[in-house]
Symmetry: C2
Subunit: 218 residues, 2 copies
């Protein structure tokens, strides 16, 4: 019985997600689902990304959090529409479900956007299990988290199209082998694009922006 219900939740979610993907496609936009552990640097990556795209592309942002609008507040200085989803009313959900994203999209003028960036709830497990109608999934892994994470949380890395290796500025102070991170990630997903970068210093940001820009509809 338990399995049947979980299957229903996932099936219902996938149905809603498929509808969202269609709406986004019709609007000529692209939606990118940014996932990663709490504190991996997703919001700072968003800030740098919005800076780089400012005046070039029209971006809307959906911020997912269990509680608070701290991240959305950080982005208010940008000239782009932002919708905050709090999952607490849904029981403190550890991921964004497709129906919440669908509702948030109503708050964005989709026809006027090239790109919708979604910051998912900080979690390396659950968000990978739920399609939200995105076109691309990105996992942000902080170099402080260690080499073994792609092996221990394989679904997230298997589902993602790109991995941002964040906090590159801390590398000299860490006992981490960045080549081993790459190897572990590619062993789970040979096609994964990998972008080591520091959103703080700007190192590596260009390659990330170049990839993201290439994903937009021309």
């Amino acid at each position: 019985m338990e399995i049947k219900v979980i299957r229903n939740i996932l099936e219902a979610n996938d149905l809603v997600a498929a509808g969202i993907r269609e709406r986004i496609g019709e609007a000529g936009a692209v939606m990118v689902n940014i996932m990663g552990s709490p504190g991996s640097g997703k919001t700072l990556l968003l800030e740098r990304t919005l800076e780089e795209f400012q005046g070039r592309s029209r971006i809307g942002v959906i911020e997912g959090d269990i509680r608070t609008s701290i991240d959305a507040e950080r982005l208010k200085r940008f000239d782009c529409p932002i919708v905050q989803i709090n999952t607490e009313p849904f029981g403190g959900d550890c991921h964004l479900p497709a129906n919440a994203v669908g509702k948030a999209l109503e708050g964005l003028d989709l026809g006027g956007l090239d790109l919708v960036l979604v910051e998912n709830v900080g979690n390396l497990v659950c968000p990978a299990e739920f399609d939200i109608g995105e076109n691309r999934k990105v996992v942000v892994l902080s170099l402080t988290e260690g080499e073994d994470k792609p092996l221990k949380y394989p679904l997230m890395f298997r589902e993602s199209h790109a991995m941002v290796l964040s906090k590159l500025d801390l590398l000299p102070h860490l006992d981490i082998d960045i080549d081993q991170v790459r190897k572990n990630a590619r062993s789970v997903n040979p096609n994964l694009k990998i972008f080591p970068l520091s959103a703080k210093t700007g190192e590596g940001i260009k390659a990330w922006i170049g990839w993201l820009n290439g994903e937009l509809k021309k």
Copy 2:
């Protein structure tokens, strides 16, 4: 219907957890549930803790992971029984359920132990929702994760008896205000014990070990 099923799962879990707590109490042991984001430093904290307690107390370890036994392998050098739980067969569970912990306890000689340390699945959300029959909950928050985490993931910090602020050695390289982390954590849970430490350099370890030792049954 969805809510009813979730409630049943939680109720069933609580029932199993209560039984586990009774078994542990009868054995004169104490069980501590160590939680935190992926890469927050839970395993390294375990390593340092086992070093400190070696020859003083009899410790058993339960390692929780979705997949792999990487963490358990790291602890093999210690003279203590270790049981690895992989949640992948249960659907890649994002937390340890009480029944898995109950099963793992069968692999430890509980009568011969003073302390059972459980490393939960790396996740700042779901493990806080599931009682596993522990006597104390500890959250490990890496200083690299930022000041706002107690506000954004309040249940974890409300449920925990102690918070380890890990990676203290990185503090000079981070833009984090450690007093603000304390303030945010205490605003969610005024009784939280807080232990800033570096498992790498050993700074702050003594206070943590002192607290843990005080929790043991004499």
